[in-house]
Symmetry: C2
Subunit: 603 residues, 2 copies
């Protein structure tokens, strides 16, 4: 065994030689960003090595590291196989105070939560009537209890110090009992688990209001940036499934704790957590294997709603607390999308509504006056600012607006701070601008410096750089640090745009409709406030002609989860709706490849 | 903080001064026998102290310690309040290979277990029919699944590597799925948790046979010898309830593991554990507070049967495993007694049958041609050889037979070993002999040495000793070590006999019957093989005239648990029977005190 020292944490671990440094660090419990899941192509698992017997950097590493970094001893941990004692500095800093889009439009619904309370005066056994407390209670309220764990009995053993008790019901099933009158304290939590972000809202079930919301980066991100890398992580890594479940449950518990502390609420008074998420996130939350989702025929183990004890996955709410996983359709159309269909009222509309959830996957539902068809496409993480050379989340320092003028480049930065990188809406606006200002060709190719000079656009020409035959356009420069958009970045967005817009056209075609038949386009997901509709139409994701029919409904996955907490009727409706959504597999469409290629080009 | 060293284990603990040594040791996780629960009167929590700043032994300690022991530094840990560093040697040795009475008469029943299996050929989702594995399965078998935890889905995610799968049903509910054909592997475990002993039987549910049985001392015994001291322990000790639950669950798991290892069975193929136990043991098993049982009106939190996931209390059987707690009547008539009523066929008999379970409590049911009345009395642990000065369990070295002749004392010792103490049946036979040979008076008073000499019984007179005005009769002597029966021991047995026989007469009276109406007496509990019926009648627990109507059915609590595993009909019958047993509270009987006093005297 050799010793691994974490320089900036003053921690020492024993490790067994033979594994790569990323695995060693992750096995030791350290969090290292590794979006590609350790496969060596994301270049994010950088660490600085002060001491240790190492091989020279591999060619693959050299692609991702600057000379300055190499000089400092910075390496990609997935390529390093340390021998003997080693001292490592972790470079990853947590994205603190990250705010995901947590709010959104919520339809009016009647308050009718499945969880409710009733205050009773306790009867007690006597010497003459020497039956159990359980039987006395059953007789006096005339209802069955709802077991399968011992929490109710544990509580029952302790409520008799007070005269009154409060019963907790799940629908008509008695699930809990509390000493005294606790009727005023009745809370639920709505959770959206996105591949990238987690949003938790605390809901007062007595008045049907959202009290507060907390958001966080999905901590599973450290083990794989997208759904497929996490499925791969589960497959490759012993205990990988357990690990991914643990970090997401811990994350939700910690957000709940924050919410309760800040709002002076006892976490024991949260009785239900409802969760909207895509199929993979839902499987990981429940600790269910994801292997079948990762390969053809891409079937889930489960898709429909799940009613469980919150305790069974380690959620630290009330001891009687329930967990409700919203109903999904398939591995492609998860509960998050069904939630969106409810929030957007797709079933009961008299219009033709096109719902698109833009994330790492683009999922869409087209409602033709209430008849629903869906499809799904792999957009990649580019539109979320990931897999983009200077990409970052929509946090302070992120460039969210870019305009190219003949005088140069104008930027809008979140928090008016020094620019650090470009967020999803920024990259989309930038590409739309590059297109509009004819800095790229229809094929997406960046124009050459010489081309721009020939056109007399000398200032902008100065922004074009070419290195190792790779072209990029510089957005801003500060000393050595350059923020730029590379040809590869444009390619990433182009692929996302091609995937989404070919889905868009295909689904309209599938329903026998024309673009002009669409009355409204509803955009869900992380986009919203940050994104101009002109960026969506500007890159060609949505046709120009529909620009004024675009609406944002925000995080409809979370909104759906809130609605399920507030109304058991909505819950029922959502479960039924999940059965009504037809799925259209894009790859089976005749001429899809051709359409996709056409959609890659800029208009 | 000071340091506590355990000399014979080479372990060191930090401890906070101010608590007594027994508490300190138990808090550190050490097991110290303390049958009185640390109240200072059992004298069992002896430790040897090598180093430490201590007060002198208290007067109470001096009563329990010989001069030799005091010389060696032996102390009662509940009286010692150590200051500073201390070094302690633990004197308690585990009673290894202890065998409790595990077998007994089992009625013929039809094999019809609630747990059963079915082998199917798995259908699979396709790209065209992209529904979840759960839905495919549901459709192909046309049954509902039975959730509330995620174990089924976890298993479902892993069975698709084989073509066949085996479904596990609990009645008509699908609870589990296993890869391949596992139909041959279908086991259950029947458990009897006695206050003193634990018995676990492994049952093959396919053929309805007991494979093997393991027994153990109930490890809760270290925290209190009888039910009341354990209830008190739970009340006094933070985490006491958790601790008592943990040790009994660990004990059952370890017995199950032994059984499986010895019989080459995978513990994952045990699908149900059924448990017979008194009310307090059942509460502790499920981790339910026992405070209400300990004080008037002595009500349980629950008495009726419980169907739970085995996992919910930490039983390490199949991930889908169930736990069935047999139905009881009240805090006095637990599931162990209802089991006895089924085994003794009390409901369907055409005779008048008197069922007595002799343990720390004496519970009885009288069946008047199928009409059932019950009562319960506190016999104390004397008849189990506890609370007796030289008492011990029925293990090697225990005196199980004693005869007094004019030439001296004849002994039968278990395992033909050097005598170490007297077990329950031995003490009962000894008292019966003392009575028969007129060595005691009707009041139970041991005759004086002078009285016996006057009667010309010189050899026996030599056996009578008087010390500090306390009389005893010496059974055997080896150097300094004396095994004797003290006046106090006789008193303990007398109280037990008084309690049981007054209950016996009261119940007959309550049912409007005479002793001669009794066709049969059924004795359940630890007694059986070891105990002569003449001892029961000799001390007057059972009237002499019924001597030839006494039958032993052995451990009927375990037998009842076995029957519940083998037949869901028996299970149903037992649940119904629990409602049919009338309970007669002895203390409400007119003239009970007088009857009890009368029953104390020897005939």
């Amino acid at each position: 065994m050799s010793i691994l020292e974490i320089y900036n944490k003053d921690i020492f671990y024993n490790y067994q030689e033979g594994k790569n440094l990323l695995d060693i660090l992750q096995d030791s419990g350290e969090i290292i960003e590794s979006p590609c899941g350790g496969k060596g192509y994301c270049g994010k698992c950088k660490v600085q090595i002060f001491k240790g017997n190492l091989d020279k950097p591999t060619e693959e590493e050299l692609k991702h590291l600057s000379k300055k970094e190499i000089g400092k001893g910075i390496r990609l941990s997935c390529f390093v196989y340390p021998k003997g004692d080693i001292c490592v500095k972790l470079l990853y800093e947590e994205e603190k105070n990250y705010k995901a889009l947590s709010d959104g439009y919520i339809p009016e619904i009647e308050l009718n939560p499945i969880i409710h309370k009733e205050v009773i005066t306790l009867e007690k056994p006597t010497l003459e009537n020497n039956i159990s407390y359980e039987e006395v209670l059953k007789k006096s309220i005339g209802r069955k209890l709802y077991y399968d764990n011992t929490e109710f009995l544990k509580a029952l053993a302790n409520v008799y110090r007070e005269e009154k008790a409060t019963l907790v019901y799940y629908e008509d099933k008695l699930i809990g009992i509390e000493a005294g009158d606790t009727k005023e304290k009745l809370y639920g939590a709505a959770v959206d688990i996105g591949t990238t972000t987690v949003v938790v809202s605390l809901i007062d079930l007595n008045i049907g209001k959202e009290i507060a919301t907390e958001t966080s980066i999905n901590p599973q991100k450290e083990y794989g940036l997208d759904v497929l890398s996490r499925i791969d992580f589960v497959k490759r890594k012993r205990n990988g499934l357990y690990l991914l479940q643990k970090v997401i449950v811990d994350c939700i518990n910690s957000l709940l704790e924050n919410l309760c502390n800040k709002n002076d609420i006892d976490i024991q008074n949260i009785y239900e957590v409802s969760v909207g998420a895509n199929a993979t996130m839902m499987h990981l939350l429940l600790g269910i294997g994801t292997n079948t989702i990762g390969k053809s025929p891409y079937a889930t183990v489960f898709s429909k709603e799940k009613n469980l004890w919150a305790k069974s996955i380690g959620l630290e709410i009330s001891q009687f607390g329930r967990l409700y996983c919203l109903s999904g359709v398939s591995s492609f159309i998860g509960a998050d999308i069904v939630a969106g269909a409810i929030v957007a009222n797709l079933k009961h509309t008299k219009d033709n509504v096109f719902f698109i959830d833009i994330g790492t996957n683009g999922e869409m539902i087209l409602s033709k006056e209430g008849k629903l068809a869906s499809c799904s496409c792999a957009a990649g993480p580019a539109l979320e600012g990931a897999n983009i050379s200077c990409g970052m989340r929509a946090a302070e320092g992120a460039i969210e607006g870019i305009q190219f003028n003949e005088e140069g480049v104008a930027l809008q930065v979140i928090g008016d701070a020094e620019p650090v990188g470009i967020c999803g809406s920024g990259i989309l606006e930038a590409i739309a601008e590059l297109n509009k200002k004819e800095l790229i060709k229809k094929s997406g190719r960046l124009k050459r410096k010489e081309d721009l000079e020939r056109e007399g656009r000398h200032v902008l020409a100065e922004h074009i750089m070419e290195e190792d035959k790779k072209r990029k356009i510089i957005i801003c420069k500060k000393g050595d640090e350059i923020i730029s958009i590379t040809q590869e970045d444009i390619r990433q967005v182009q692929l996302a745009k091609g995937a989404i817009s070919s889905g868009f056209y295909s689904l309209i075609d599938f329903m026998g409709m024309d673009i002009d038949d669409i009355d409204s386009i509803v955009i869900a997901g992380q986009f919203g406030r940050h994104l101009k509709t002109s960026s969506l139409t500007g890159v060609g994701i949505i046709p120009e002609s529909l620009n004024d029919r675009i609406n944002y409904i925000g995080n409809s996955s979370k909104t759906g989860a809130v609605m399920c907490l507030l109304s058991k009727d909505v819950r029922k409706e959502m479960e039924d709706l999940a059965k009504d959504i037809e799925y259209f597999e894009l790859s089976t469409k005749e001429g899809y490849e051709k359409l996709f290629t056409k959609c890659l080009t800029f208009g």
